[in-house]
């Protein structure tokens, strides 16, 4: 198996790594752009609408036009905002979102993947940094709605990070590794097949926590439009606003990719090339999230916290216990 870690750091390898990273970044940007398009089309279809269909064939260039528009917009900083923090907050939110993608194994070849031995931890640790960016953005805007949105977001993401981490533990115990590549390979030979079958409880907890982490409906309280106008990024305009949007969609992709890797056997699958299998599974998870988005009303703030602490964490703990017992007995 190919891994960058086993290679000596020669000039050629370094260039290879850089090229790999750039290629991943470029592809991902494209993917994220079309995620937005996909979201709009899927939700439109579920709501008996047409969705974007004016820019380019079938509206394919709509997202590109949106991004261009945001790039050309004036970058407004409110007069009473904390200028330095206001400017840096979107970047703090945005950088970890792309960094976590380094550990996702997209294909069987792994040329694009940093096969870290602590891949799972790396993902969870880095994705927490984004919360900082969101809270700072909400606080630095000097707007009450932004502040409430930012604080809600922090409370929610911290609460749901715990069940998210715990639900992954079951998979880690089965695979005996924190390396995402190894986890996928283990699923090829595991007697239960993909981990969604032995870890069905973990999968459900993971999906719920993931939706909450992403601030998606029904957990979209931080950006509850009817209550908080737009939440923590109310005051942001232009490209800084785009950064936050991008962060959200990159995480949407990343967490779907993580779910695919951990529970759905990653790139594994017959006949088709491995990257295509990966794409299909990830798209299915993303579609599921969009589906929720078009279906659910929003949870209430107090219920949200109660749900994380009183339901999800005990269930996740029970799942760990069950996994341990099963691996001992079976």
């Amino acid at each position: 198996m190919f891994s960058w870690q086993t290679q000596p750091l020669t000039g050629l390898n370094f260039i290879g790594m850089v090229i790999g990273a750039v290629v991943v970044l470029a592809i991902l940007l494209l993917v994220v752009m079309y995620l937005i398009f996909f979201l709009r089309k899927v939700v439109a279809w579920m709501q008996n609408r047409i969705g974007p269909n004016r820019v380019g064939p079938w509206g394919l260039f709509q997202s590109m036009a949106d991004v261009l528009k945001l790039l050309l917009k004036e970058d407004i900083v409110p007069a009473k905002a904390d200028r330095a923090l206001f400017l840096v907050a979107p970047i703090i939110a945005f950088v970890p979102a792309f960094t976590v993608l380094a550990v996702i194994p997209y294909t069987a070849g792994h040329i694009f993947t940093a096969g870290l031995n602590i891949g799972v931890l790396f993902y969870i640790a880095l994705s927490s940094i984004t919360i900082l960016g969101i809270v700072l953005g909400g606080w630095a805007s000097n707007n009450k709605y932004s502040l409430v949105g930012g604080l809600r977001s922090a409370a929610q993401m911290i609460s749901y990070e715990i069940p998210l981490g715990m639900s992954v533990l079951g998979v880690v115990m089965l695979a005996g590794s924190l390396n995402l590549t190894t986890i996928v390979q283990q699923q090829a030979t595991d007697r239960f097949g993909w981990y969604i079958i032995p870890q069905i409880i973990g999968f459900v907890v993971f999906m719920i926590a993931a939706v909450a982490e992403l601030n998606q409906t029904p957990f979209d309280l931080p950006e509850a439009e009817s209550e908080l106008v737009a939440g923590y990024f109310t005051e942001y305009t232009g490209f800084r606003f785009a950064f936050y949007m991008l962060t959200e969609f990159v995480y949407l992709f990343a967490i779907s990719a993580l779910a695919t890797t951990l529970f759905l056997g990653g790139w594994l699958g017959p006949w088709l090339p491995s990257w295509l299998w990966f794409a299909i599974k990830t798209s299915a998870v993303i579609f599921f999230m969009f589906w929720l988005r078009a279906t659910m009303p929003r949870l209430r703030v107090d219920k949200l916290m109660g749900f994380a602490w009183k339901v999800l964490i005990p269930v996740a703990l029970f799942n760990i216990l069950l996994t341990g017992l099963l691996s001992l007995l079976v």
């Binding site: 579920m46 009817s226 908080l228 279906t295 009303p297 703030v301």
Partner: protein, 367 residues
């Protein structure tokens, strides 16, 4: 009990805010996310309809009533012409009365549909809003065919209605009813059982019967507390005594009951339309009305069951062709008063749920 108090913050919601349903401003004092005081500020849409009416002839006032509760304009039209007819003791041709009932009840359905959609939108579910608009569009289209307007109808006249139904219109309404019933069932199945939705509206913003009466609430806000008070039954106006329908009442007076009453009331309205379609007679649609409408001197008040509650028009006449004073009893305006009482102790998210369930239209609040 000693509790830790954080600093209170004054949050100004509106007049431009996505879920205040127009230009409504609410100044809330919040402690964390908990509301300790709420002060509704209205008047941003005040156009002085009552003042304007004093210099207009009665027929000229009708279009102004369209702009009050702009999602149920037929009912507003009727409230005005009904008071004028009551004051003049006019005889209305029967066909006109039936047409009025049909359009009014259809308008009630359209208005309640909009409530259901907008309420769910407030609670964060976007799809129902777009779904209900399809059926609302059909009703609006029917109105467009009968009176040439989609929102501000100006359809009723003193003594009848302006236009008879175009050929085939009644059949179209007849076809619409089963479709609407089916869709109502579907929406009911999609929304009313949703656990998240229920957890947000059950037991929320409870109004007791005593409070409801003391605060002069009317319409669904009053009926949701269990009081069987529907002016169509209590003081049947027009030809409402000819139709069999139930008055929908709630039990707990919470947000869910208010939502649910809207749902059930739509079915009752469809029943009324169906009965009206069965027995609508032929004949003229505009009675013998003097060219210049003059009301005998005196004061007159009648009220009808509007989409949001008791919609009344009070006219003081000095015998001329213009009202000496016209006062509109706007249900939204009166119902909104209870909001600041309901909000105390709630958190921000509940604020939206409670405000949405009170069901106001700002055009009516501000007149």
């Amino acid at each position: 009990m000693e509790t830790l108090h954080s600093e209170e913050m004054i949050l100004n919601i509106g007049p431009q805010h996505p879920s205040t349903h127009g230009v409504f401003r609410l100044v809330v004092t919040i402690d964390g996310e908990q509301i300790v005081a709420a002060d509704p500020v209205v008047g941003y849409l005040h156009r002085g309809t009552e003042k304007l009416a004093e210099s207009l002839q009665y027929t000229q006032i009708i279009p102004y009533t369209d702009r009050l509760d702009y999602v149920a304009a037929m009912l507003n039209n009727y409230a005005l012409v009904h008071t004028v007819e009551y004051a003049m003791d006019l005889e209305i041709p029967e066909r006109a009365e039936y047409l009025r009932v049909i359009v009014m009840e259809l308008n009630r359905v359209a208005s309640h549909l909009l409530f259901v959609g907008a309420y769910l939108l407030d609670l964060g579910a976007m799809s129902p809003f777009l779904y209900v608009f399809q059926e609302r569009e059909m009703i609006v289209q029917l109105f467009n065919e009968i009176c040439g307007a989609r929102l501000t109808y100006n359809y009723m006249r003193v003594g009848g209605v302006k236009w008879d139904a175009p050929p085939g219109w009644l059949a179209k309404v007849r076809d619409f009813l089963p479709h609407m019933r089916e869709k109502l069932k579907m929406y009911d199945a999609l929304i009313s059982g949703n656990e998240i939705f229920l957890s947000r509206v059950r037991g929320m913003g409870v109004i007791t019967q005593e409070e409801a009466v003391a605060y002069s609430l009317s319409g669904i806000n009053l009926r949701s507390t269990g009081l069987r008070f529907d002016l169509r039954k209590k003081r049947p106006y027009g030809i409402y005594d000819k139709f069999a329908f139930d008055v929908v009442v709630g039990q707990n007076g919470d947000c869910f009951d208010r939502y649910w009453c809207h749902f059930l009331e739509m079915e009752q309205s469809l029943n009324i339309v169906e009965q009206a379609l069965e027995s609508i007679p032929d004949g003229p649609v505009l009675g013998k009305v003097p060219k210049l409408i003059r009301i005998p001197a005196g004061e007159y008040y009648t009220s009808i069951e509007g989409a949001r509650g008791e919609l009344g028009v009070y006219i003081v006449s000095d015998g001329k062709d213009k009202p000496y004073r016209m006062k509109l009893r706007r249900p939204s305006f009166v119902n909104l008063q209870i909001l600041s009482k309901l909000l105390i102790g709630q958190n921000m998210a509940n604020m939206i749920a409670i405000l949405g369930a009170v069901d106001i239209v700002l055009g009516e609040v501000d007149a």
